[in-house]
Amino acid sequence: MNWKRSLIAAVAAVPLIMLFAWGFTRDPGTIPSPLPGHAAPLFALDVFAPGQPPLSRPVGDTVRLADLRGQVVVLNFWASWCLACRDEHVVLSTTARRYAERPVHFLGVLYNDRPAAGVAWIAEMGGQSYPSMQDPGARTAIDYGLYGVPETFFIDGSGRVAYKQLGPASEVLLAHIVDSLIAVLPQHPTAPATKSGS
């Protein structure tokens, strides 16, 4: 055996193995969006499902992103035909209720679905704490470069997309991102904020 050559050969394998090891720290499913870090596309959508007090808004009310500047927005695209949306529904609904007194708005956007089917789905799932809007022609979904449902966008106080989550969101993830975005809000850094429309 030529041990010197063996050693050199073994060392040559290390970068490849390190590359694979590093690969484990990545999720190939996360598709980066050009949006994070950029201004969130503005929208004005009509509520079709009111949500529950204290987060509710009347049906037909128009929600404008521009009006929510200075507060955190969690924008969740969903559909009644989407299985993974069922998985995250409870987490989203309870987290929204838990943050009811904080400067954050949870909003649902119905994607590629009929509002009637959406209302039936919410009833089947035992209610949704926050309001959902319809998106005729999926224009907002297109503006946001939707990859699939569920997909959740986190918009910070300055109206930029801070983060987006592909697939069902977990409680830990929601709390972590919302907390960190509230913490850097310009006004009312920690104090409970007044909520418009609640």
Binding site: N2, R5, L7, L16, I17, L19, F24
Partner: protein, 672 residues
């Protein structure tokens, strides 16, 4: 109950394999050769135990024993028996179990057939086989345990992934792939055995591994073709190859194994390329492990990816150990692996084999780089990139064209060196084929440079390979007055490896023709049709007869009935449909294909009106597609012929090698 039994069998196998791994080298080093059979028995016992576990799993699947975690995961009372049995390899844990069983089977047969061989090659080969088996054994009792008890026992399960219970080829493609993939462990084990025992300086391990490599190669070739066929029949886009990372993973070891099948001949005949051959064998195995790692770890996104879990870390550790151990062994032995023969002339079959190896290896690296590039790019530059089919197509076309060319030149050139007259008489006639195919392609409307060149080289290589048969048969007929059929049979019997190889070439040429034809002349149309409407694509007319729905045991089916018209008469009926499985919110499209020797009419039901008022149909016309599947069969047939043990040369009339000019030179060379 049965799950516990199987789990215990797998647990017991672990210490037995460790015992064999320890015993084999100790027995060799200390000269206690009576211990060697005990080490071999470890392999046989492992096979027995894994067989018990595998049979237990099949029984559990068939009897719907949902107390077994794997059955609860993939089983369902509504699934037909066939798909229930083959769901053995439908998900991660079951596929690992099946893998371990195939590996144990190979190991047992290899060692049993060679158990009486003197020397230390086989004990160390057994050691390598046991070491790889041990890894899978550990997976099966650890992160990929399919026999977890489930409590409370569910009444029913979700059934297999809908895509995996939608076509019969699902019962064919995976086992072929495992047989090919796992089989590559055998030549690797021989190479490790040769390096550890010092027999790597001789050529015995090459001879021993030859047939096993050919067998695994045949399985892998068949698996790749079957996988192409499956995706063609099932996925509804009319294609068969997408350069998905996992498709690439099956193709990479195929390329190196193909290179090895050629370069091993140079070592056997001329004592050349010893170090290169070890590298190819080891590289092939490493690539199979890499491919498995990519599928099972989830570090690269792929349509084939299994569920990600902790198992990825085990594979990472395994690939690290295999890679480092292999490199250490090969580099440490590189001094001993000197070439004894040398090239005589550039115009010889040797040089064509060298070029063939060069291009196949370059091909492998191209595909490997394309597959791993997204990972590298993200690691170095932090950007997400995807490497798609355009990259692979552009990079591989020149290489494929060169390989087609060599496939024509190689069989025509003699060993050692060719005179100018020989070159002329051998290399010129096939140009007729090149011209014919070139003209044919141009007349048919091919305009891309590589397309026309590929057709021409296919023609060249086809004539060159067929001519070898013809020359041999003509010689036999003149010498013995045999009929054509007898002459062909006895010619092939006289040198199965050579003529089996040419047959595999011809099969590959058919595959190339099918790919070139279907990709150059594909025509596609999509239309929403009302009953009675007709649609014409590339001269083929179809008429929608109706849309229907049907309930089946495990699914609901919606289909459209379309008639194929020729001169106003109905010549065939095609019924593409969509299958709805209760466990999935997405329907599984099930295209239907009408195949003829000239081409396929491929219909997919894209959408339909619930009242049956209309249906959206995508119609694709692709010439020559079925030649790919047929050619794949020929390739496998060639490999099988090459595997049949050769007759001894001294056997008079049957091996009348002098009749074939080329063989005369070989016989002369074989004499010391």
């Amino acid at each position: 109950m049965i799950g516990l039994l199987a789990h215990d069998a797998l647990l017991v196998a672990l210490p037995i394999m460790v015992l064999g791994i320890v015993l084999a080298p100790v027995a060799v080093r200390t000269g206690r050769r009576e211990w060697i059979p005990i080490a071999y028995s470890a392999l046989y016992t492992n096979f027995l135990l894994v067989t018990i576990a595998t049979v237990a799993m099949i029984v559990a699947l068939v009897t719907h024993d949902f107390s077994v975690s794997y059955v609860a995961q993939v089983g369902s009372r509504a699934t037909p028996l066939f798909y229930t049995v083959i769901s053995l390899w439908g998900a991660l844990e079951g596929s690992i179990l099946f893998w371990a069983w195939v590996l144990a089977l190979y190991g047992t047969v290899v060692v049993w057939l060679n158990r009486n061989r003197p020397g230390n090659l086989i004990p160390y080969t057994a050691l390598a086989l046991l070491a790889v088996s041990l890894f899978f054994g550990i997976l099966l009792v650890g992160p990929a345990n399919p026999f977890h008890p489930v409590f409370p026992v569910p009444l029913d399960g979700p059934g297999p992934n809908p895509l995996l219970q939608n076509h019969i080829l699902m019962g064919v493609h995976p086992p072929l792939l495992y047989l090919g993939y796992v089989g590559m462990t055998v030549p690797f084990a021989f190479a490790v055995g040769a390096m550890l025992s010092g027999e790597v300086t001789g050529d015995a391990w090459i001879k021993l591994s030859h047939r096993w490599t050919l067998l695994s190669w045949a399985f892998l070739s068949a698996a790749i073709i079957a996988g192409m066929w499956w995706s063609y029949e099932v996925l509804g886009w009319g294609g068969y190859w997408a350069w998905d990372p996992v498709e690439n993973a099956s193709f990479l070891p195929w390329l190196t194994a193909t290179a090895y099948l050629h370069s091993m001949i140079l070592q056997e005949r001329r004592g050349m390329l010893r170090l290169w051959n070890v590298n190819l064998v080891v590289g092939t195995f490493v690539l199979t492990v890499l491919g498995t790692f990519l599928t099972r770890s989830g570090i690269i996104s792929s349509v084939h990816a299994f569920t990600v879990g902790v198992i990825g870390y085990y594979f990472l550790a395994f690939i690290a150990v295999v890679l480092i151990a292999a490199l250490v062994m090969v580099a440490g032995n590189s001094d001993r692996l000197r070439t004894s023969g040398k090239m005589d002339s550039a115009a010889s079959r040797e040089s064509v084999f060298l070029l063939n190896n060069l291009f196949l290896t370059a091909f492998m690296f191209t595909v490997l780089i394309g597959t791993l590039f997204p990972l590298v790019a993200e690691a170095i530059r932090g950007v997400k990139v995807s490497v798609g089919a355009p990259f692979f197509n552009r990079m591989s076309l020149p290489l494929i064209v060169m390989l087609l060319f060599l496939m024509g030149v190689g069989p025509a050139l003699p060993w050692r060196s060719a005179t100018a007259a020989e070159m002329r008489s051998k290399l010129l006639p096939p140009f007729i084929g090149a011209l014919l195919f070139c003209a044919g392609a141009l007349v048919a409307g091919a305009r891309s440079f590589y397309g026309v060149v590929a057709f021409s080289f296919v023609g060249y290589a086809a004539v060159a390979n067929l001519r070898e048969y013809w020359i041999g048969m003509r010689a036999r007929r003149q010498a013995h007055g045999e009929g054509w059929a007898t002459a062909l049979f006895l010619l092939m019997r006289s040198n199965q490896r050579r003529f089996g190889g040419y047959l595999a070439h011809l099969g590959l040429l058919l595959v190339a023709l099918g790919i070139a034809g279907s990709s150059s002349f594909r025509k596609e149309r999509e239309a929403t049709m009302k009953p009675g409407d007709t649609l014409t694509v590339a001269g083929q007319t179809i008429r929608l007869k109706g849309v229907w729905g049907r309930e089946e045991v495990q699914r609901s089916v919606v289909g459209a009935t379309l008639e194929v018209l020729k001169n106003g008469r109905v010549v065939g009926v095609i019924e593409p449909h969509m299958n709805y499985y209760p466990t999935s919110d997405q329907p599984v499209p099930t295209p239907q294909v009408r195949s003829t020797i000239g081409g396929d009419l491929y219909l997919t039901l894209m959408a339909f009106d619930p009242n049956g008022a209309n249906a959206t149909i995508r119609a694709i016309v692709q010439p020559l597609v079925s030649w790919i599947w047929f050619g794949g069969g020929i390739v496998v047939l060639g490999a099988i012929i090459g595997m049949i043990p050769a007759r001894r040369r001294s056997n008079g009339a049957l091996a009348d090698t002098d009749l074939v000019p080329d063989l005369g030179a070989i016989a002369a060379e074989a004499a010391p």
